[in-house]
């Protein structure tokens, strides 16, 4: 599973410097505070809008859809800087990362014209509609149904869960069953619908995660009438579309930088104390980050070349999210610190945030067990 090197990009380094400058100014002005795992929990529509104004959303998309036709390497640099700073990027994250590219690949001209420019402006946010109360890892077992009525519209019934930030979002790309399940081909009969979350019949119920935060939701669909032209892509092609979406979802720097703000605090502590054991731990953690960056960068370049590196993407997420959790234990072993969300010590706060979010790292976007199954298939074992 050798990955070809990512091309060197001066443009990427330039935009990286611009983002760094912007973030330093925003931090200094108090417009945000650094937190761990902000691509899940840091919802700030005003901040997303600022990024849109600077051309840092929809970066790689065609200009006719509000994009900026910049390279995957430039987008990589921007996303990485935002994550490293623990900036509040959750509002737009899903739309920019995967819903937009999904619309570009499968959307109708009308869907693209209407929605993509708003995503790129940081004004339109998306949720992922995959998991259901009875369908987690076994995604093909979903039961949310969409049936065409006489007018050609879709009538949707069912429920989606773990729907991050649905209460702040405008649309969902929802995987639904559009024909009865077929035990000989479980992946057949699935389709993706583009659903406006303000439609009648949709109820959004909060689900609180371990730290009490409201990011997850259950989204219930009761006889929701979705206009017929809101089918995304082809009817029955949902499984293939979802799979393509997952390569984007699984390989980005958010799969190893969710807890980077904790590493940064640890780095400050190490610089202050010079404790030899802590210095070595920082070196080991940094070596792991450097390897993950190379993997992720190389996949970004492969996606840019039009390849679909599903197996390396699964590898990044497996190795990267394992790292995100390991950071907590590695740091605890060499620093005297008590985790608390109220701690006056920023390291104690970051540790608490990282710990309470930790179970999510290796679950979201496909559990690491599912990912390893994908890798095993790539190794020819299944």
């Amino acid at each position: 599973m050798t990955l070809a090197p990512a091309p060197a990009s001066e443009a990427a380094e330039q935009v990286r410097a611009e983002v760094r400058e912007f973030l330093a100014a925003e931090l200094a002005a108090g417009s945000f505070q650094t937190h761990v795992d902000t691509w899940l929990s840091g919802v700030d529509p005003a901040f997303s809008k600022k990024l849109g104004e600077r051309g840092w959303l929809g970066m790689t998309w065609p200009k006719e859809y509000g994009g900026h036709e910049r390279s995957a390497m430039e987008r990589y640099a921007v996303t990485e800087e935002l994550l490293a700073a623990g900036a509040p990027v959750a509002a737009h994250w899903i739309a920019d990362r995967q819903s937009g590219p999904n619309l570009l690949a499968y959307g109708t001209e009308k869907q693209r014209q209407e929605i993509l420019p708003r995503i790129a402006a940081g004004e339109c946010f998306f949720v992922i509609g995959m998991s259901e109360p009875d369908s987690g890892s076994d995604l093909a077992s979903i039961r949310t149904r969409a049936v065409r009525d006489e007018a050609g519209d879709w009538v949707v019934n069912g429920a989606k869960v773990w729907t991050s930030n649905a209460h702040h979002s405008h649309y969902g790309i929802v995987l639904v069953r559009t024909s009865p399940s077929d035990s000989s081909n479980r992946h057949a009969g699935l389709s993706q619908l583009l659903i406006d979350l303000s439609l009648p019949g949709i109820t959004i119920n909060p689900i609180r995660i371990l730290d009490g935060g409201h990011h997850f939701n259950e989204v219930v669909f009761e006889d929701v009438v979705v206009p017929g032209d809101m089918l995304l892509g082809e009817e029955g092609n949902g499984w293939h579309q979802v799979t393509a979406e997952l390569a984007f979802e699984r390989s980005g720097p958010e799969r190893f930088l969710s807890t980077y703000p904790l590493v940064a605090e640890f780095g400050r502590r190490v610089a202050e104390t010079g404790d030899p054991a802590a210095v070595a731990t920082l070196g080991r953690l940094s070596a792991r980050i450097l390897a993950l960056r190379q993997m992720s960068l190389r996949i970004a370049a492969a996606l840019d070349r039009g390849e679909l590196p599903n197996i390396p993407a699964a590898l990044v997420k497996d190795v990267g999210t394992t790292f995100e959790g390991d950071v907590i234990e590695e740091i605890r072993r060499v620093v005297d610190v008590t985790p608390s969300l109220e701690s006056p010590d920023p390291l104690g706060r970051a540790l608490a945030e990282a710990q309470l979010h930790a179970p999510g790292y290796t679950l979201r976007g496909g559990t690491n067990e599912i990912l390893r199954g994908i890798v095993a298939r790539g190794l020819g074992l299944r």
Partner: protein, 356 residues
């Protein structure tokens, strides 16, 4: 990539005539393999023809070292092609004939005396014990990095004729010679290096080991996947069991991480960048992967892999050895962290993005 395919093919062809064997004090290297590689001009690749080498790029030399590592070839190509040879060239010193095996060692406990008064390339004598010399007793020449003579900053890179020097019997976990050489006013040609230049030579050595670790880890994964496909228990191949699939996937993740970072560090070296931090990171990451890769490879292979009757030990014993050679995991972790914090407590992230 394709430029190196021919090199890899040639080395593989040669290796196919030399099965790896368990090294012993009596048979401490594969002289036949070395002879065949030298005859094909492969022991001078990456060294320019005007210096007596065979020409070729760094990428060719790396491909040779990686392929020999995959085949557990008991020859000092990593030391000669990636460390000693390039270090001599960079220091403006003559390179001995590449047909004779040459190695590299850090000699912190050796005292160096200048013979002439020149401060450029010159003559020195070296006194003291050089420990942990890879291929001690095998290599005809040793390039050592020693502290500069008293009163001078930096280090000396010196070339010693080791043919008449007795080496102590010490070996790494794979049986590769790692003995000491006792120098008593040993004459050497040498060159003064700055502390920074000396650091880059040490980094090259670490990167050479990282290249070997990455290649051997890849091979161990390939052997383990193959074994899991062939070995049947409970009426099906081991690889059909989810528990085994999880282990192999974990190995694949480690191997991919190591190869990506090592490859990036090699490319940075090829671009002429300072690779001290990149090499440190590659060495630390490759060393960390050994724990997972070797452990799970043995677990999947079962009892047969725990014997010398199976080939697995040729590489797992090398992995366990190489990860702490050319500077330990601990030493390089500290070099990396120190370098990343050089710009102060808030400079960590910018430094990380500059390494490779």
């Amino acid at each position: 990539m394709s430029d190196q395919d021919l090199v890899v093919e040639t080395v593989r062809d040669i290796l196919s005539g030399f099965e790896p064997f368990a090294l012993t004090a009596e048979r401490r290297w594969d002289a036949g393999l070395w002879g065949a590689l030298a005859e094909a001009g492969l022991t001078g690749v990456g060294l320019p023809e005007e210096a007596g080498g065979s020409g070729g790029e760094l990428a060719d030399a790396v491909a040779i070292v990686a392929t020999v590592a995959r085949g557990a070839g008991a020859v000092p190509v990593a030391e000669q092609l990636l460390v000693a040879g390039p270090a001599l060239l960079a220091a403006d010193l003559d390179v001995p004939s590449p047909e004779q095996p040459m190695t590299f060692a850090v000699a912190d406990a050796v005292t160096v005396h200048p013979v002439d008064n020149g401060d450029g390339p010159g003559r020195f004598t070296l006194t003291g014990t050089v420990t942990d010399v890879a291929w001690a007793g095998v290599a005809a020449h040793v390039v050592v990095l020693a502290p500069a003579p008293a009163g001078i900053e930096g280090a000396v890179l010196a070339l010693i004729d080791a043919s008449g020097l007795p080496a102590t019997d010490a070996f790494n976990l794979a049986g590769e010679p790692r003995g000491s050489l006792v120098l008593d006013e040993a004459p050497a040609s040498g060159s003064l290096l700055t502390e920074a230049q000396a650091g880059e030579v040490r980094a090259r050595y670490a990167l050479a080991r990282a290249v070997q670790l990455a290649a051997a880890s890849e091979q161990v994964l390939a052997w383990t996947v193959q074994y899991a496909g062939e070995r049947h228990q409970f009426g099906r191949p081991l690889g059909r069991f989810q528990a085994i699939q999880m282990e192999l996937a974990e190995m694949a993740g480690e191997v991919t991480a190591v190869t990506a970072l090592t490859d990036a560090a090699v490319q940075a070296l090829d671009r002429g960048e300072n690779v001290v931090l990149a090499a440190a990171a590659a060495k630390v990451r490759a060393g960390a992967a050994v724990e997972v890769v070797a452990r799970l490879a043995h677990q999947v292979h079962g009892a047969i892999g725990f014997t010398q009757e199976h080939k697995l030990h040729h590489l797992t014993r090398r992995l366990w050895s190489w990860r702490d050679e050319a500077g330990s995991d601990l030493a390089w972790s500290r070099v990396l962290a120190g370098g990343l914090l050089a710009d102060g407590p808030d400079g960590l992230w910018p430094a990380i993005t500059r390494v490779v």
